[in-house]
């Protein structure tokens, strides 16, 4: 099913008799959803873009690339740096903005500007009964009623099908500098945390392939100044690194095309080194250690036990033999009851993305 507008989308949901798999471009959904595919890629178009107000409103099926191009023409961008996981997940196709929101897809700049959910100003969506619901709007500050915008961001299609999203956007910086240092993981991660605890406004803090990386963005003079201050603060082998490629971190490129299970761990940054050291496999650290991508060949590896009390883990890509492993982190009973309650209200027939997103 590929509705062409919101009314058709609502109709498609209302008339559905079995489970639906919600799909934007099919480039980032995870999990084991089964059912008839309901595609939002027919709902396209940027409805409003005001560069002077930093706001953009687009229909959910609008290709991410189109939004990025329109923003770039005004030297603006989506601040949260959307990861492109096609390589990692072995997918093709074009990402849609609705899929980005449903996954709360957020890259390295999260340490500075927050996630997709923090840039999301409003949504329109169709719930499991076919009702069209609006929440939030197109202005930067809005506390009118409950914040269902946050609830929908990152819900992986469990509560509704997005039909429209509005973002706060950001100006592109005039200058970008990356500093890097070849060092071991414990030292590199400690340096990242020190940098994030400094006033020098870091916009990326990652550790990958034996190298710690820090990114600075802004006006030219300011970037130069902060780079100098950080090098003085951290000492050691920190150097400007003109070849640094943050897309490798954002898209988890080193794991693309390689066999193995991929886990995404969100943890207390100071625990990152310890947790990763206890898990056989390869790790890429983003968000100053707050995010770990783990590639492992062991289907029985108990990643969730390793993060217990310090965060949670999502299974991004499974190996054969992992069918019994839940994709999304199991929730403590109180939270699970609330989540189940919300799903039952928004999707009373339980037709959306049972078993995960696609």
């Amino acid at each position: 099913m590929q509705p062409a507008n919101e009314a058709e989308l609502s109709e498609a949901v209302r008339l559905a008799v079995g489970p639906l798999v919600l799909r934007g471009g099919g480039t980032r959904g995870i999990g084991r959803a089964v059912g008839a595919v309901l595609q939002t890629s027919g709902l396209t178009g940027i409805e409003l873009y005001e560069p002077g107000a930093l706001t953009l409103v687009a229909r959910a099926g609008t290709p991410l690339a189109e939004v990025e191009a329109v923003l770039a023409a005004e030297r603006q961008r989506l601040a949260f740096e959307v990861p492109d996981l096609r390589g990692l997940l072995g997918r093709e196709g074009a990402s849609t903005v609705g899929g980005v929101v449903a996954a709360n897809a957020s890259g390295p700049r999260r340490v500075q500007v927050g996630a997709c959910r923090d840039a999301l100003l409003g949504v329109r969506f169709v719930d499991g009964t076919g009702a069209v619901i609006k929440n939030g709007g197109r202005v930067m500050k809005n506390v009118t009623g409950y914040d269902l915008v946050k609830l929908l961001a990152g819900s992986n299609g469990a509560l509704g099908v997005l039909s429209e999203v509005s973002f706060r956007v950001q100006a592109q910086p005039e200058a970008v500098v990356t500093l890097s240092a070849e060092t071991d993981a414990p030292q590199g991660l400690a340096d990242l945390r020190r940098a994030l605890g400094s006033p020098f406004d870091v916009s990326g803090a990652a550790y990958m392939s034996g190298k710690a990386m820090l990114r600075l963005e802004g006006m030219a003079g300011s970037v130069r100044y902060r780079a100098g201050q950080l090098r003085a603060l951290l000492g050691g082998g920190w150097q400007e690194d003109a070849a640094a490629d943050w897309r490798q971190v954002r898209d988890v490129t080193p794991f693309a095309g390689r066999a193995g299970a991929v886990w995404r761990l969100v943890v207390k940054p100071s625990e990152a080194g310890r947790i990763a050291a206890g898990l056989p496999g390869e790790a890429i650290f983003d968000w100053g250690g707050g995010l770990i991508w783990l590639l492992t060949q062991d289907p029985a590896l108990d990643v969730r036990a390793a993060v217990a009390g310090a965060g949670h883990a999502t299974l991004i890509r499974a190996l054969p033999g992992m069918q019994g492993v839940p994709v999304f982190p199991p929730e403590p009973p109180g939270v699970a009851a609330l989540t189940a309650g919300l799903r039952a209200k928004f999707d009373p027939r339980g037709i959306f993305n049972a078993g995960g997103a696609a």
């Binding site: 005001e50 002077g52 107000a53 709360n104 927050g114 996630a115 959910r117 009702a131 069209v132 619901i133 609006k134 929440n135 709007g137 202005v139 930067m140 500050k141 809005n142 506390v143 009118t144 009623g145 409950y146 914040d147 269902l148 946050k150 609830l151 961001a153 990152g154 819900s155 469990a158 509560l159 100006a171 592109q172 945390r193 994030l196 605890g197 400094s198 006033p199 006006m219 003079g221 300011s222 969100v266 943890v267 207390k268 940054p269 100071s270 968000w287 995010l291 965060g311 949670h312 999304f328 982190p329 929730e331 109180g334 939270v335 609330l338 989540t339 919300l342 039952a344 209200k345 928004f346």
Partner: protein, 477 residues
């Protein structure tokens, strides 16, 4: 403004309810003498007042849970309260309710600079959160003007903002986790000292739910390293349009000041008479603040100055030192007080797309003439969050109603141009009956369903946020 009729069933059982509460709380934490419960009769929307049946002041999550369990069994409505500074009547009691105040829960539970968070009990005041980490070079970013008094509990419930949220975001962008006690006494931990809570974003919907989903007893907050310095400039214009265009050009140029505050002529004149900050007598005034090292500040201000000069300001004043910086902020910070010297006032809080600023200000001016009430406008121009202050005389019969009618028209105008009813103060009772202007019945139903899940009996702060007729059936249980 209408409130539900107090339940005779509950009022008749007051003695038994108090006795039960005294089994789980020390005597000094249960207030039921009508002479004392009056202290809780209103919040900062003081036009409306009603003493609660009982007020309780627990000291721990366990005590909060015990109180809620009793109230749940007894079917008693509970109104959570932080410091009572809500401007929307969010903490207004009903005569049959228990006010659950968290003011005694003000401890710092954990500070962690390595992971940049602080965990506090929710009754701690906003400013004292920063106070706890300031000496080590950190701060908590959301800074409502009421920060000396307001509590994190109220900030989380209202998703409060502040002057610096253009750069740092509002409460929801700085909140990592909460301990929430549901109406039936169940305590849940949502989120924690990591960057995302995982699963469906319950934290996102709890923040801003105005005390209707549960009582927040603890919060994990993101703290940030303090910038090296900050400096404001003041720019005066002889037209609102031009001031608005200047704001838009600054933003388009890719500069992100931490604050862009706007004041119009009535407000400038009132504050000058009161605070004597030395502001120019002009149509519109911007205060723009940037942060960083001295050199970084110079770099940004040079850019801002170039943009502002292209709009022919009547004045461009740069603070040369700390003292001048304070004077630039002085008028803005005393704006509410200054308006209060002239008369009683009602402070609105709608948000508009910044592009509609000149039109909205012109319409407010016209309406001011129609209603015969003066208005001053102060607001956060960078994000379009307006605070029109309507002056009225509380002692003059009919004036409050006239003022409310005028306020409602302004808020409708905000929605009409693509904005919203409230940017940071919340709906409470104040905007409750206007919700239909912004949201359809279906939109509101979706929100009320969330409350159905967290508080199926609709006992927590039940008469707020949604139009009373829309919630009647649910409140009746």
């Amino acid at each position: 403004m209408q409130m539900p009729i107090a339940s005779a069933r509950v009022l008749d059982r007051k003695a038994e309810i108090v006795a039960r509460l005294l089994t789980v709380l020390p005597a000094d934490a249960v207030i039921f003498d009508p002479a004392e419960t009056r202290a809780y009769e209103c919040d900062a929307l003081s036009a409306y007042a009603c003493a609660p049946m009982v007020a309780v002041l627990p000291r721990s999550t366990a005590e909060v849970a015990a109180v809620l369990r009793i109230c749940h069994q007894e079917g008693v409505p509970v109104v959570p309260r932080g410091s009572g500074t809500s401007l929307a009547g969010g903490a207004l009691p009903t005569a049959d309710c228990v006010i659950l105040g968290v003011a005694r829960m003000n401890a710092v539970l954990e500070t962690d600079y390595d992971n940049r968070f602080i965990r506090v009990q929710s009754g701690r005041t906003n400013l004292s959160v920063t106070g706890a980490v300031e000496a080590d070079g950190f701060f908590y970013a959301p800074d409502p003007s009421s920060q000396l008094a307001c509590a994190i509990a109220g900030n989380v419930a209202m998703n409060s903002g502040g002057a610096h949220c253009l750069k740092y975001g509002v409460t929801t962008n700085n909140l990592l986790g909460v301990t929430l006690v549901q109406m039936d006494g169940t305590a849940v931990e949502v989120g924690g000292p990591w960057m995302e809570a995982g699963g469906i974003d319950l934290l996102g919907v709890i923040c801003g739910s105005e005390g209707q989903l549960g009582v927040v007893t603890e919060a994990t907050l993101r703290i940030l390293p303090k910038p090296e310095g900050a400096r404001p400039v003041l720019v005066g214009f002889d037209s609102n349009e031009v001031a608005g265009a200047c704001v838009s050009d600054i933003i388009k140029a890719g500069i992100l000041p931490v604050a862009i505050e706007f004041m119009d002529r009535p407000c400038i004149r009132a504050t000058e008479a009161f605070a004597k900050a030395g502001y120019p007598d002009c149509e519109a005034l911007l205060i723009i603040e940037v942060e960083g090292s001295p050199a970084e500040i110079d770099e940004q201000l040079a850019r801002i100055k170039a943009i502002a000069m292209a709009h022919n300001p009547v004045e461009f004043r740069e603070a040369q030192d700390e003292d001048q910086a304070k004077r630039i902020w002085l008028g803005r910070k005393s704006a509410f007080g200054a308006m209060g010297q002239i008369n009683d006032y009602m402070c609105l809080d709608g948000t508009i797309p910044v592009s509609s600023l000149p039109y909205v200000l012109r319409r407010i001016g016209e309406m001011s003439a129609e209603f015969g009430l003066d208005v001053g406008n102060v607001f956060h121009a960078g994000d379009g969050n307006m605070h029109p202050l309507i002056l009225y005389n509380a002692n003059k019969p009919g004036d409050l109603e006239l003022c409310e009618a005028f306020g409602a028209e302004i808020l409708k105008l905000c929605v009409e141009v693509g904005g919203c009813l409230t940017g940071e103060h919340g709906v409470g009772i104040e905007k409750r009956d206007l919700m239909g202007v912004q949201y359809s019945a279906v939109d509101l139903e979706a929100q009320m369903q969330v409350k159905d899940v967290f508080d199926p009996k609709w006992l927590l702060n039940p008469a707020k946020v949604f139009p009373l007729d829309a919630t009647a059936v649910r409140r009746a249980g």
